[in-house]
Each structure stands twice: as structure tokens, then as C-alpha cells.
Symmetry: C2
């Protein structure tokens, strides 16, 4: 948990490094039982900038991954938008790399997220995280459907590329997937054109 | 976790006691990092019976509660549909009571759910759960928006009403909210009419 975990005011900030990215403060209400949060609330979050386009095609998927400490997943830029969050008492170091063609290509943002934050990641931006707590439940909404046969077409960048400048913790000992070890360095990534997103 | 936690085939079953309720088997994929699941996937789950009407008004909220062992939340029948799930390695004893007018009024269903199950609860059916694991992250989608000032209008039934016949664990020592202690017994609940849902 971050220092002020409970009772933040719902708010959104634009991430200047990566246009279209939004960081939300999520109010978490604690009591004798634990806590409760409206993790996503369309009516309250759209006026703060959550894009209506997220819902344009009426597709919806909610993914949950559960990971142990030091697990690192990413960096993945599948062709859909993501609204990501932590669903328990854990925390992750989130990192994002803009892979869209243009002046922001290669720009990076990183921040620690716990259940009191939500991050909107526009399509074309690679997403990844490393687990800081003993375990973490990581939950996200996406607006298009994954398929194994399309995986070769999805865009990725290698988490360990030093030119990204991401400050992972002890990255040599990170627990990763074979696929994630083998993604290209930024210099070998083909920037994503608007019509590919 | 239940005995067969990983790699179930996505499937849906109707709950005969409570019309409109559905219990989904969710495939959970384990690897060196932990696990991953498509907790909700509209395109795959609608053909299995997930109602299209869930999306009719284009409202969407994702709630997450985090609770300690023995916490009991419920039984709540707010005027919206719910798709409920567990988002971590924990488990809960879920219980549902039909509060809709008609021959199924008062009918109960209960089952243990972990991350490999998803439950669709139609509006008019009261929802509740008791935490069986040390902690649990409980995540659900709803299709209308809660408001504190409307809470007196929402329908509830008392979890401790013995006439329900719910087999809670050690219900005397359950950790509950003040509000939940004071909900009416089933005999005092006004059955919900179709036009109130
Ligand atoms: C993304 C995805 C995966 N899977 C399956 C395939 C594997 O059996 C298992 C794990 O898949 P990975 O591609 O290894 O997932 P992961 O490395 O965790 O990446 C996912 O989580 C982090 C996110 O950054 C990323 O977008 C997303 O692909 O889940 C699905 O069944 N459906 C999916 O939507
Ligand atoms: C349901 C809800 C609650 N809240 C706030 C009010 C309280 O500060 C806090 C907890 O609210 P409770 O009504 O005590 O929630 P809880 O008893 O956990 O019930 C919820 O989880 C279990 C579900 O069965 C139930 O539908 C839902 O109301 O969260 C919100 O801000 N938004 C909401 O949508």
C-alpha cells in the first residue's frame, strides 16, 4: 500500500510522457471487514476523461492475473485499450512504453500502483509490471479479444532493454515467461501506425 | 482453491433453484509466474447464456472488495445485475436468495466459489458471501450505479435468518457491518415486483 491508500478523492491525471495515458486516484473505503472500492465506474470516470471510445465497439473482457513476488510480465502492446488495476493489498511497479509512430515513440512512464490507483493505457502503448508484494492480483478491462493465433501479430518490446531506462527491481532475477525474454529491443520494434491500432 | 482449479473448460450451468442465475466454469491457466484467467469475456460467454440485457443500458461498474477470514457481506439485492468472481487464490461461501415475487420467492442457492468460477446474479436476487480463506479479493461487474441516498430503497434480507437454511460457517462469529445485522427477516421482506427491478 502507498502512504495514503484510503479515501482519496476520485481524480484523473494525464501522463505527459505518453499522450492518452491517464492515472486515476480511486477512493478505497476501509472498515472492520477490509475495504471496498468502485474500481471502475463509467458514469463518474468518463467526465474525468476516460475515453468513450473504449466502449465504441461494445466489446468487453476482464482479465485477472495472480503473480508471486518478482514476477515481471510485459511489455505487451496488443491492439486494444486497457484499464489496469490492483485488486488486493499488493502492489506492482508498472511500466509503459509508447510504441506508436511519432515523436513520442520510445517514451516511458513508470509508477508504483496499488489498489488505490487505476491506469488507462491506450492501444499502441506497451504495458508491463513487476510484482513488489508477496503476491498480487492484477485485474484489467480490455475492449477487444485476444487470440493465440494472432499473438505473432501483436507488438512487444523487451522489458530488459537498457535503452528504455526502466528502473525495475533486481531485473536479473525477475521471474518471466519464455515469450517475454525473447521480445525485440526498442531499436528493432516497428513503430505502430495509426491504421494498425 | 477447489480440487480442479486449473484448465476447466469454459461452461455455464443454470441454477434450477433460482431462474436466471448462471454458474460459469472459468479456465485458469497456471505457469511459473502464477496464473491468468479471462474472468469475463463477452464474446465467449454470451453464446453460453450470459444475458445481452446486461449491456442494454450501457452502464458499467466494477467493484472490488477485500475481506479477512470470516467476514460475511450480504444479503443485498440492489436493482442491478451482478457478475461476481474471486480475483485471487482465496475462496468464499456464496449464498443467494430469490426476492422476486412469485413461486421462487425465498429460494436459496449456495456454493463455494474460487477464481475458477463466475456467477451471474440477476437483479432481484440477494447476494452475499462469507470468506473461507485468510483473505479474499472479490470482484464483480454491475450494470447500474449505487448511490448512498438510494440505499434505503434497495432490498435486503438478513443473513442470519434461520428460515433461509443457509449453512454459513460459525455464523455467530462472522465479522459483519452494522447495516447487515439489521436487515429484515425473509417473512418481513416485501417481494420485488417486476416493475421495481
Ligand atoms: C492475454 C491472454 C492470455 N491468455 C492465456 C494464454 C496463456 O495460457 C496465459 C498467459 O498468457 P500470457 O500471454 O503469458 O500473458 P501475460 O504474459 O500475463 O500477459 C498479459 O498480462 C499482462 C499484460 O500486460 C498483457 O497485455 C497480457 O497479455 O493466458 C488467454 O487465455 N487470454 C488472454 O486474453
Ligand atoms: C456498494 C457500494 C458501496 N460503496 C461504499 C459505501 C461504503 O463506504 C463502502 C462499503 O459499502 P457497503 O454497502 O457496506 O458494501 P458491502 O456490504 O461490501 O456490499 C457490497 O458487496 C457485497 C455485495 O453483495 C453487495 O451487493 C455490495 O453492496 O463502499 C460505494 O462507494 N459504492 C458502491 O457501489
Amino acid at each position: 500500500m502507498t502512504d495514503n491508500f484510503f479515501e482519496k478523492t476520485l481524480a484523473a491525471r494525464e501522463i505527459s510522457q505518453i499522450p492518452g495515458m491517464l492515472e486515476f486516484d480511486i477512493p478505497v473505503h476501509g472498515d472492520n471487514r477490509g475495504w471496498f472500492k468502485e474500481n471502475f465506474q463509467k458514469e463518474k470516470m468518463m467526465p474525468l476523461g476516460f475515453p468513450e471510445s473504449f466502449f465504441a465497439e461494445e466489446k468487453l473482457q476482464n482479465n485477472v492475473s495472480f503473480s508471486r513476488k518478482n514476477v515481471l510480465r510485459g511489455l505487451h502492446a496488443e491492439p486494444w485499450d486497457k484499464y489496469i488495476s490492483v485488486a488486493d493489498g499488493g502492489s506492482v511497479l508498472g511500466a509503459w512504453v509508447d510504441l506508436r509512430e511519432g515523436e513520442n515513440f520510445g517514451h516511458v512512464y513508470q509508477t508504483v500502483i496499488d489498489a488505490s490507483k487505476g491506469i488507462f493505457v491506450p492501444r499502441g502503448v506497451a504495458n508491463g509490471f513487476q510484482v513488489l508484494s508477496d503476491t498480487v492480483s492484477y485485474s484489467y478491462l480490455v475492449n477487444d479479444y485476444w487470440a493465440l493465433e494472432l499473438k505473432p501479430k501483436y507488438a512487444f518490446v523487451n522489458y530488459a532493454d537498457p535503452t528504455l531506462g526502466i528502473k525495475w527491481e533486481d531485473v536479473e532475477n525477475a521471474e518471466v515467461s519464455e515469450a517475454d525474454k525473447n521480445h525485440p529491443l526498442l531499436k528493432d520494434v516497428k513503430a505502430l501506425k495509426a491504421d494498425e491500432l
